[in-house]
């Protein structure tokens, strides 16, 4: 088709078949939220894809300008709600840089443990949705089953299941209860067994293999050029994990591996995430062994006022690189501007590259393995 194309479509090509356009979303069960994809099809093959955002654009950054820094921590929960506890840390680290305060050892351990629990919870949702999108409803039920255990722990510690709003500059809001460590231990023991089940479900399943191997290949160069991060980048063969590349908190004192695979297809993105669950469990076990029972659980409380300047923090959430950029133009409690870089945005930007030439049913698989959270794209 040549000539006029709808906005966003760019490929000019000659065909002797008729092309047509399909709209997917904003309300569609496998777009993981309010995302709209405009597809240009040749038969059942996707020629080009244009994502349309903004269906859940909530104007957080504008709102943050009239909020205090502490209130923004609560908003960060609502960006990527699957990794809410990790987003909290991202914001808090930026604030700590500005306030120039440190964190006592016990608080660091609490942070790392909750981070890893959050990571497992998020990857379990990925597992559930990946299975569900491929038609295996069983996975949906299983993934959410273990996730509830993590939510029990989170609820006990933070008081909330999903929107945790837990960390504060210098530590966290509360100390962890005495039951925290035994519970995490029990969860890990349980998880060891269940992971075997999980891998049996999907890793060797012939339907999964057929539908995900060689599908949606993202080359190493493209992955870097498009700004992908997290498991998507690592599945394309780039060994980049902020926990290793730019260690924050006390991550450099743990012994864990960064799983990397080299094909860049859907199956690799799946295996990377499963391997990451194992690594997170490894970190958690080390934390349990070394968890300090004594000592303060937070630093001295100070009013959250940042001196003039610009502060940047980055952390690795379950989805990838989560960066917070705070601009303080006057010393005070309110930011001049806060910007969040969520990991899902670049992934959807790279989606067009991945789906070209694939069938429309593969789009669902590819989108599931990108594991996007739309409110974090739109903010």
């Amino acid at each position: 088709m040549t000539g006029m194309l709808p906005p966003g479509f760019r490929i000019q090509r000659e065909t002797n078949t008729e092309e047509f356009f399909i709209n997917m979303g904003p309300q569609h069960p496998s777009t993981h939220g309010a995302l709209r994809l405009a597809l240009r099809m040749d038969g059942e093959t996707i020629v080009e894809l244009v994502p349309h955002f903004g269906y859940i654009h909530r104007g957080m950054e504008k709102q943050a300008e009239s909020m205090s820094y502490l209130q923004y921590i609560a908003l960060s929960d609502r960006q990527d709600y699957l990794t809410a506890i990790q987003n909290n840390l991202g914001v808090v680290i930026a604030l700590e840089k500005g306030m120039n305060i440190g964190v006592p050892e016990k608080a660091e351990y609490i942070r790392v443990m909750l981070q890893e629990l959050g990571r497992i919870a998020s990857h379990l949702v990925f597992f559930a949705c990946f299975g569900g999108d491929l038609g295996g409803q069983t996975c949906l039920l299983y993934g959410f089953k273990e996730r509830e255990m993590i939510h029990d722990i989170l609820e006990e510690v933070t008081g909330s299941r999903l929107t945790t709003n837990f960390f504060r500059p210098g530590g966290s809001r509360y100390d962890v209860p005495d039951t925290f460590i035994p519970r995490v231990k029990a969860f890990l023991d349980h998880m060891d067994d269940t992971m075997k089940d999980y891998e049996r479900f999907l890793s060797k399943n012939i339907i999964v293999l057929e539908r995900s191997k060689g599908i949606g290949i993202l080359s190493k160069e493209d992955a870097i050029a498009y700004g992908c991060s997290g498991p998507v980048l690592r599945a394309s063969g780039v060994n980049f994990d902020v926990r290793r590349a730019n260690p924050y908190s006390i991550y450099d004192s743990f012994d864990f591996e960064v799983p990397v695979t080299y094909n860049g297809d859907c199956y690799d993105r799946y295996t990377v995430r499963i391997a990451e669950i194992h690594e997170s469990m490894k970190i958690l076990r080390q934390c349990i062994d070394r968890f300090p029972t004594e000592g303060p659980w937070r630093a001295k409380e100070k009013p959250v006022r940042l001196p003039v300047g610009r502060y940047y923090s980055e952390i690795e959430t379950a989805k990838g690189l989560y960066a917070t950029y705070v601009v303080a133009a006057t010393t005070g409690e309110k930011p001049y501007r806060i910007h969040t870089r969520g990991p899902s945005f670049p992934h959807i930007a790279a989606l067009n590259k991945m789906v070209q030439g694939h069938k429309i049913s593969d789009l669902v698989t590819i989108l599931a393995t990108l594991d996007p959270v739309i409110p974090e794209i739109d903010r």
Binding site: P104, V125, P296, Y325
Partner: protein, 419 residues
């Protein structure tokens, strides 16, 4: 709907007919109230709690609602899970119209009740789903727990059970409620009540004292001791790759005009050298230098900034800052380029709010990642990226007036935070 509603008209005149009508009611209600099929719809955080409630632990199947339908034509119940934005609102109304009656709606979460966390200073969130579609049950919470959703579901069930052939289901109308007024009013009423209560208490206390003049309370107030926490020294995170001074020297050599924004009197080199290890170097670039510099840092072997983290816009009184953040995948160092763009004040004042006030070179041919980021900056600040292949609004509708992240932006629907 349907033939059943004529049953009372036909059967009631017949002796004993009303028992038949009652029996029909019983059967129909039993069926309807025990299998409410929700629509698979969710925009944000609340949707996850809705999903949790249909999974193994909470098991919504106990209430007959486990069949989440992806097509509105097969659904009975619209669970409005998640924030509703102005852009999504037409889609929601369309979905509602596609659901065949009798249909019900549950507004789940603070966002769909009043706007929730996004009620103030917000230009894009619809404050309350009842403005769009008629809502039967409101479930408060942010997000509501699955149990709360079940409570909402059971409340809806009670409502359904009250429907009979004599009192059939009718489609409701959306209500135009201005949320803010309700809040202010409620706050006023609340304060008045509190005052009344205080007066009553004072009266009662006075009366008690009169009656028992020599009563002595044995109650002693307890003060919870505040825990004392130590001050902790901050340990900067490890530095990776080149130091800030090295990067700065490299840039300075090639582009003598670069500087670092600083408030201190010291020479720039000292300021850069004194930066903590985990603070990325941020240099000021002139618009002429911008493109060559990006090309330079991308291709230079020792810098090799091949990864674009983000592009951030900042609005000041007379200029915009566009901060492009780069990192080197190979070495691990970061560099932020702060491009200062003077606002074009030759545009008449009344047109400024809707005009593109500045122009910057686009770097999307060097970094594909920049394409969407630049669209975001364009959408939010009204900065024109020259050479951008597809410059359209990204988050807002094409007919949206103004650029929201500018400091002087106003929107007719924006409610300011009460101070």
């Amino acid at each position: 709907m349907g033939i059943i509603n004529y049953a009372p008209k036909i059967l009631d005149p017949i002796p004993g007919g009303k028992y038949v009508v009652n029996a029909i009611d019983y059967v129909v209600n039993w069926a309807r109230a025990n299998s409410i099929w929700p629509l698979t719809y969710g925009t944000s955080c609340c949707a996850i709690e809705m999903m949790s409630s249909s999974m193994a632990r909470y098991d919504i199947a106990r209430f007959g609602s486990e069949v989440f339908r992806s097509s509105p034509r097969q659904a009975d119940l619209f669970i409005l899970a998640g924030t509703i934005t102005r852009r999504m609102a037409p889609a929601i109304q369309m979905l509602w119209e596609q659901i065949p009656g009798p249909k019900y709606a549950i507004a789940m979460g603070a966002c769909t009740i009043s706007g929730g966390p996004f009620i103030y200073d917000n230009y894009s969130v619809v404050r309350g789903a009842q403005n769009l579609i008629p809502v039967d049950v409101f479930v408060p919470g942010c997000p509501p727990r699955p149990e709360a959703l079940f409570h909402g579901l059971l409340t809806l069930r009670e409502k359904i059970l009250k429907e009979t052939c004599r009192n059939p289901w009718q489609v409701g109308e959306p209500k135009d409620v201005s949320t803010m007024d309700r809040y202010r009013e409620a706050a006023k009423t609340w304060a008045a009540l509190e005052e009344m209560k205080d007066e009553e208490m004072a009266e009662a206390r006075a009366k008690f004292k009169e009656e028992n003049p020599d009563y002595k309370s044995s109650f002693k107030p307890i003060r919870i001791k505040k825990e004392d926490f130590p001050e902790v020294e901050r340990v900067p995170f490890k530095r990776m790759g080149l130091t800030q001074s090295d990067i700065y020297a490299k840039l300075k050599e090639k582009f003598p005009a670069v500087t670092v924004h600083t408030h201190s009197e010291d020479p720039v080199e000292d300021v850069v050298a004194a930066m903590p290890a985990d603070r990325p170097l941020e240099v000021m670039v002139t618009p002429e230098d911008y493109l060559p510099m990006v090309e330079f840092i991308k291709n230079d072997a020792s810098l090799k900034m091949d990864y674009l983290i983000d592009i951030v816009g900042i609005d000041y009184d007379d200029h915009f800052d566009v901060v492009s953040q780069f990192r080197s995948m190979e070495h691990g160092h970061k560099l932020f380029l702060c491009l200062q763009l003077k606002k074009d004040f030759s545009i008449p004042e009344e047109q400024r709010a809707t005009a593109l006030l500045a122009h910057a070179p686009s770097i999307s041919h060097l970094y594909p990642a920049a394409e969407f980021k630049e669209r975001e900056v364009y959408d939010m600040f009204g900065i024109d990226f020259v050479g951008h292949p597809d410059q359209r609004r990204i988050f807002l509708d094409d007919d949206f007036v103004g650029y929201p992240l500018r400091k002087d932006f106003t929107h007719p629907e924006m409610i300011r935070r009460p101070v």
